[in-house]
Amino acid sequence: MKKLLALIHARNLEFYRDRSALVWTLLFPFIVLAGFTYGYSGKKEALLNIRASGPGLTESSLIKKFRSTPGMDFQITTDEPAAIKKLSRYETDLVLKADESGKKFTYSLNPDSDRGKLAERLLQAAVEADSNPRAELVMVEVTGHKIRYADWLLPGLLAMNIMFGSMFGVGYVIVRYRKNGVLKRLRATPLSAFQFLLAQVVSRMTLMVATATLVVGGAMVMIGFHPANGVAGTIIDLLLFLAVSSAAMISVGLVVAAQISSEEVADGVLNLMTWPMIFLSGIWFSLDGASPWVIRISRMMPLTHVVKGLRAILIDGAHFSDLMPEVGILLVITAVLVTIGSALFKWR
């Protein structure tokens, strides 16, 4: 225990004194967040996202015309509540429901979304242009608290920060220690490999949880972010999930660092692993419309589950206990990778 505490303390000091890493870890999320808050103008892949359900949909000539609008991503769904939820998060612009006759349509939109209103105009125009008898249109406003893109993005950025801090912070540092002989020197002491690795994990977990919590606090001050359950209702769930998340990401770093003794190689491998996760784990945009193979790859990435869980806690107000699939997956990833990492670990 004394060995462990001494090592954790030493590692914490190292992190704190490595100014560039400290500044970067704290500043990076804010820089990106600011960029997206003021600069991001929406998703690029489709101009409008429409989700529709109901039996009379396929028959209707008016729908055929509506869905052929250029730039429109029109998808038929059976899960209307999920589509409504996406509406409130700007992940979709309009949700349409047709009755059996195909002559009555109920549509929902987010009153804060300009794109939703644009979709509404197009729908109204399609109805007016349609032959008699004219279809009936009923509008339902989706209410609930407003979520801006920046709010939605924050959990993704937190996840990315955890990924970089964990994988590089543990992976790269162990490789450097191996290269410059620090590991060899430690090997000559009574310290065991397990104690050494555990200290790295605990030290980095503490730092990641602390910095992520600070970033959420900073986002509340800076861009007026509000966790769905308020600060008091979120903090415990957030801390727990951050701990599980950073443990999983650190264990990826441990496997990378188990044998490599060149910093350049470690750097390459870590970049190779992090960049696909940045694009395919749903940090920047929802992967709902993506092709099935992208979704399949995405599910294999630990970061996807981190993003999902953080978003559920911060945006949807989920509790830690509601996140069992994500937490379970992350814990399994941690257990498997830590085992592999310690088995492969080389002091030199």
Binding site: A6, A10, D18, N180, A188, T189, P190
Partner: protein, 312 residues
């Protein structure tokens, strides 16, 4: 306080072998190191010194053979008993000297107090300095202090003064003397024969993974050399051949001739008779450096190399 070397063997290796796929780095080593002694392991680069040390330290697994500490095979507990100064070690980044020592002393059950280490290794001037910002001599003293944090009975120093200036080296030797007075056994590798002569009670010279000579420095010198060396720089327009200096050996060393003789009076008289200018003559007895070159053949003089190398 006098240094007492007792006869009990503290460390022993039996038929120690380390083989890599295409190379036998250590080839059947039998060593005995007495309690309280300073044992020097000498040899050219690649002779297997560091490999031997690292096997004894428990860092490198031997291919075969045994390592005994006080008559028992070394195990995990052995690391509590020893202190190691590696040839090249980085210290953890961003830690100060006293923080590094504190960290390492936490790893051991037994330890020397930090203040004692500070005084013993003379670390007071840079106690609060970042460990990565030390001079070579200061750094070596910190590494020595690290080797001593657990108050070990056996201290391994792997080329501890390589790269140090002569003054820093002298200072380091004094430190080693202090440590010996505390009754610690020291195992040292070095390139500097002067260092071995100064510090070691007994030495072993290694080459190609084998011990080729072993004993006290003076015994080894007596055993291998008789007489003295007379060095005559060229440039006086004279020439020397083995024939014109009877009873002595003559070597062409490039810039100078070297005459080896057991009877310096006669030989010098003969050189005077030949009319050779003795203005720049250097006369010295043979030292460990000569012995090292003679035995390992790793010198700058090819003829001596081919003459001395037992494999040639």
């Amino acid at each position: 306080m006098e240094i007492i070397v007792r006869m009990e063997t503290v460390l022993e290796t039996r038929a120690l072998i380390k083989r890599y796929s295409d190379l036998t780095a250590v080839d059947g080593l039998d060593l005995r190191i007495s309690e309280g002694a300073c044992f020097g392991l000498l040899g050219p680069n690649g002779a297997g010194k560091t490999t031997t040390l690292e096997m004894i330290e428990g860092i490198l697994p031997p291919t075969s053979g045994e390592i005994l500490y006080r008559g028992e095979k070394i195990g995990r507990k052995f690391s509590e008993e020893i202190g190691i100064q590696f040839q090249s070690t980085a210290l953890p980044d961003f830690l100060r000297v006293h923080e590094v020592l504190k960290l390492f002393s936490a790893f051991y059950q037994k330890h020397m107090s930090l203040n004692e280490l500070k005084d013993l290794c003379d670390l007071g001037d840079f106690w609060n300095r970042d460990a990565s910002k030390l001079s070579g001599g200061q750094r070596q003293r910190v590494l020595l202090a690290l080797a001593l944090v657990n108050d070990p009975s056996l201290v391994f120093l792997d080329e501890p003064t390589t790269g140090l200036d002569p003054q820093a080296r002298r200072r380091f030797w004094e430190l080693v003397g202090l440590i010996r007075k505390r009754g610690k056994t020291i195992v040292l590798t070095t390139h500097y024969m002067e260092e071995a002569y100064e510090l070691c009670d007994s030495i072993a010279i290694m080459n190609h993974g084998k011990i080729i000579a072993e004993g006290t420095p003076n015994d080894l010198l007596k055993q291998h050399f008789h007489g003295i060396s007379i060095r005559l720089p060229k440039g006086g327009g004279f020439n020397l051949t083995p024939d014109n200096v009877k009873g002595a050996e003559v070597f062409d060393r490039g810039e100078a001739f070297e005459v080896l003789t057991e009877d310096p009076n006669t030989t010098l008289q003969r050189l005077i008779d030949l009319g050779i200018p003795l203005k720049e003559v250097q006369i010295r007895s043979r030292n460990l450096e000569d012995l090292f070159l003679k035995l390992t053949g790793k010198g700058f003089h090819h003829e001596e190399a081919s003459r001395a190398d037992p494999r040639a």
